[in-house]
């Protein structure tokens, strides 16, 4: 089973999408990016506990083509979500024109995913480990402060770099998103135009849910003005092969 949904949603984090905000931009219009999940291909189901390669292409009139590296591979983000109930998965895939959470939008512009992944330790601790360690509301400010100022020793000897250009508010939005969204084993986030992901081992003998894979790219807006950025996305769902 594999269904494709292509939805273009506008940027929300910076407020209302503004195409005409000043004299110098009055004649310009930002064209939304075209995001396409090239693989997994639209066929068949996949066995549990398998590594599945994927490839995403992005084409944007203003920013260029991902295949020529005009759009950096690391600007493509993916969300993989498992739904035990296929109907709910299909509904989720159809409804993904919803706005992105603010923290997720900021994290996509940062280098967080270079050293952290959601469920496995990379250079730094996994986001899920972080979300288990810290209480959702109490610790946000303290963790955000360490994101800005850098930190070493809390998770091991490898230093977390400083992020002095993140405002306190944005750092807190990032931390809030991590604590809220990365502790669910059925949901994973990663980046890269090409790569692979592992789908989990079967949760039970009769499991027949579906996975929904969403790829997004946020363009650079008119003259790199992020308030005019648009998000392109592609969504597919695929099933799981029963033994």
């Amino acid at each position: 089973m594999l269904i494709r949904f292509i939805i273009i949603s506008s940027s929300f984090f910076w407020g209302i999408v503004t195409f005409f905000t000043g004299n110098n931009k009055s004649a310009q219009k930002n064209t939304p990016p075209q995001v396409r999940i090239q693989s997994p291909k639209a066929a068949g189901n996949y066995p549990w506990n398998t590594v599945i390669p994927y490839a995403v292409t992005v084409s944007d009139k203003e920013d260029g083509e991902s295949k020529y590296d005009e759009i950096p591979a690391t600007d493509v983000f993916l969300e993989l979500r498992y739904f035990p109930d296929p109907a709910k998965g299909t509904a989720y895939a159809r409804s993904t024109a919803q706005k992105e959470p603010a923290g997720y939008s900021i994290i996509k512009k940062q280098d967080c995913f270079t050293c952290h992944s959601v469920h496995t330790k990379l250079i730094g601790p996994s986001f899920s480990e972080i979300s288990k360690k810290y209480k959702k509301s109490d610790d946000v400010a303290a963790v955000a402060s360490r994101v800005i100022k850098g930190s070493v020793g809390l998770w091991g000897p490898i230093a977390m770099p400083t992020h002095p250009d993140l405002t306190e508010k944005n750092a807190e939005l990032v931390v809030h998103w991590i604590l809220e969204n990365t502790n669910n084993p059925d949901v994973d986030y990663f980046r890269g135009a090409e790569g692979s992901f592992r789908i989990q081992a079967s949760p039970n003998a009769t499991a027949n849910g579906i996975f929904v894979l969403k790829a997004t790219y946020t363009d650079r807006g008119i003259n790199d003005d992020s308030t005019t950025s648009l998000i392109g996305q592609d969504v597919i769902s695929f099933g799981v092969k029963k033994d």
Partner: protein
């Protein structure tokens, strides 16, 4: 991290001035240093059983393993995903003036230690230079700079809180060897450096090494200096025993590097291997059974397939586990692949017009800052005939060269520097070799990792800087590469 707009990024890169990013391929090192100009054909193996082997990854382990297999008469093909070989052993020349160069990756070797590596330097007639980066070091602690002399001065050590026994040991050996004062009595029980279990310390895997220091009456100052509250005592004792057996210090002061850059060794391996090394050939799928392996890879966008008797995997496990593998890894190996961890950071390379620190009265620029944007710095390529100098510094991944330079200017204790250019190699962002050295196995989990990091999976063997008992990069890479070449040759 500062949001870098693409256009600014390109502009900075093209300007190749302060703050530019390094171009990836520099393969000029070591010309004329005794290597054969052409690939060499070797006679078939003594056993008469010539094996076909695919080596995954052309880092130093992959090249070394392939070279050894080739020498033993086997047919090898090395598949490397990126457009250069050498992996984490990377010498930078592009953008530097006057023939200067810098090691942007693997830094040094020791003696004793690195026996395989030293053998190769003799075999290929590579020039090894002393690397005095750990001599005349200035260390910033509590807003004050300390010299080596300070750390050998009993009065200073006493003021730091060390007790008489510790002071005596530090003065005789070195501050970095303090742990040996407490651990040496435990080390003789380890007979085989590849076997940490069954020597009577198995229970210590769940005990922090700091408890051993306490048991051995370490002072509060020593406990603070050594830490170890989250390190397995069994793991740390085993690691200390390996060094002890090899006659290597904890932190060897006299270290060495290759003249012209450490990439000289991978370059010679690759030159000997010739067209057996296929670059820009990422592996996309591996199938294996009792008879051999089938490896699918991309060659200039074309999908190709190669069958072989064995696969020598020299790709770090965090990248290897992303390649579809049928049948999959055993649960033990999968655990290692999912949980093994590495450190990773940036090398910042400063080019300066003078040895500015001399004017400021410092014996060297080897300095430890502990600044969040710049940890330490040292000089290299001193033998290049120029008034200019190269400084190499370590910073966390994600720090820009400009920010690292600003950090240097904030903490450098002299009046003025003459840095004219800053380059960076940020390994955390390298898609092909993001992993530096393996980090410690977590407390209580040694049996989950060891010996599974090295064990064979059917026809797939594993080498690399992570796949040996000690994690010292080029040493573990060359040792494990030789182990795998031997395993396959004798299989």
């Amino acid at each position: 991290m500062k949001e870098v707009k693409r256009r600014d990024f390109l502009r900075n890169t093209l300007a190749a001035g302060v703050g530019s990013t390094l171009a990836p391929a520099v393969l000029l090192a070591q010309e004329g240093e005794g290597e054969s100009p052409h690939p060499v054909d070797y006679p078939p193996p003594a056993s008469g059983k010539k094996k076909k082997v695919v080596v995954a990854g052309a880092g130093i382990a992959g090249l070394c393993c392939a070279y050894e297999l080739m020498k033993k008469g086997h047919e090898v093909t090395v598949l490397e995903a990126s457009g250069r070989h050498g992996g984490h052993v990377f010498t930078v020349r592009d953008g530097l003036s006057d023939g200067l160069y810098a090691d942007g990756g693997a830094e040094q070797i020791t003696k004793p230690g690195y026996e395989r590596y030293w053998e190769y330097t003799k075999e290929f007639n590579l020039t090894v230079l002393p690397y005095p980066r750990r001599r005349n070091v200035y260390t910033k602690m509590n807003d004050k700079f300390y010299t080596e002399d300070h750390f050998k001065d009993p009065a200073v050590l006493k003021s730091m809180g060390f007790n008489e026994r510790e002071i005596k040991h530090i003065v005789k050996h070195n501050l970095h060897e303090l742990s040996r004062l407490f651990l040496d009595p435990y080390l003789d029980k380890f007979k085989d450096e590849y076997q940490p279990f069954g020597v009577g310390y198995d229970d210590l895997d769940k005990v922090p090494i700091s408890d051993i220091y306490k048991k051995e009456a370490a002072s509060p100052a020593a406990l603070k200096f050594l830490g170890g509250e989250n390190s397995s005592a069994l793991f740390r004792l085993w690691q200390a025993a390996i060094l002890h057996k090899r006659g290597v210090a904890n932190f060897p002061i006299d270290v060495f590097r290759l003249k012209g850059g450490n990439q000289g060794l991978p370059n010679v391996f690759a030159k000997r291997l010739g067209p057996r090394v296929k670059l820009n050939s990422p592996i996309t799928e591996i199938k294996h059974d009792n008879n051999g392996v089938t490896v699918t890879y991309k060659d200039n966008e074309q999908t190709k397939e190669i069958t072989a008797d064995y696969l020598a995997n020299c790709i770090p496990l965090p990248l290897f586990k992303k390649i579809p593998l049928t049948p999959g890894l055993t649960p033990e190996k999968q655990f290692v692949a999912d949980n093994i961890t590495y450190d990773s950071y940036s090398h910042i390379i400063f080019q300066a017009s003078t040895k500015f620190w001399i004017e400021d009265g410092f014996k060297s620029i080897n300095m430890q800052f502990g600044h969040p944007d710049l940890e330490f710095i040292w000089q290299m390529a001193e033998e290049v005939d120029t008034h200019r100098v190269i400084l190499v510094a370590v910073a966390p991944g994600g720090v820009s060269p400009q920010r690292a330079l600003a950090a240097f200017r904030e903490v450098y204790p002299g009046k003025k520097d003459s840095i004219e250019q800053a380059l960076i190699k940020d390994w955390t962002k390298d898609p092909f070799a993001p992993n530096c050295e393996r980090t410690d196995f977590p407390m209580g989990e040694l049996s989950k990792f060891w010996p599974h990091v090295m064990t064979v999976q059917g026809r797939i063997h594993f080498a690399g800087a992570y796949a040996d008992n000690l994690n010292w990069g080029q040493e573990a890479a060359t040792r494990s590469a030789n182990r795998v070449a031997k395993e396959i040759d004798e299989a």
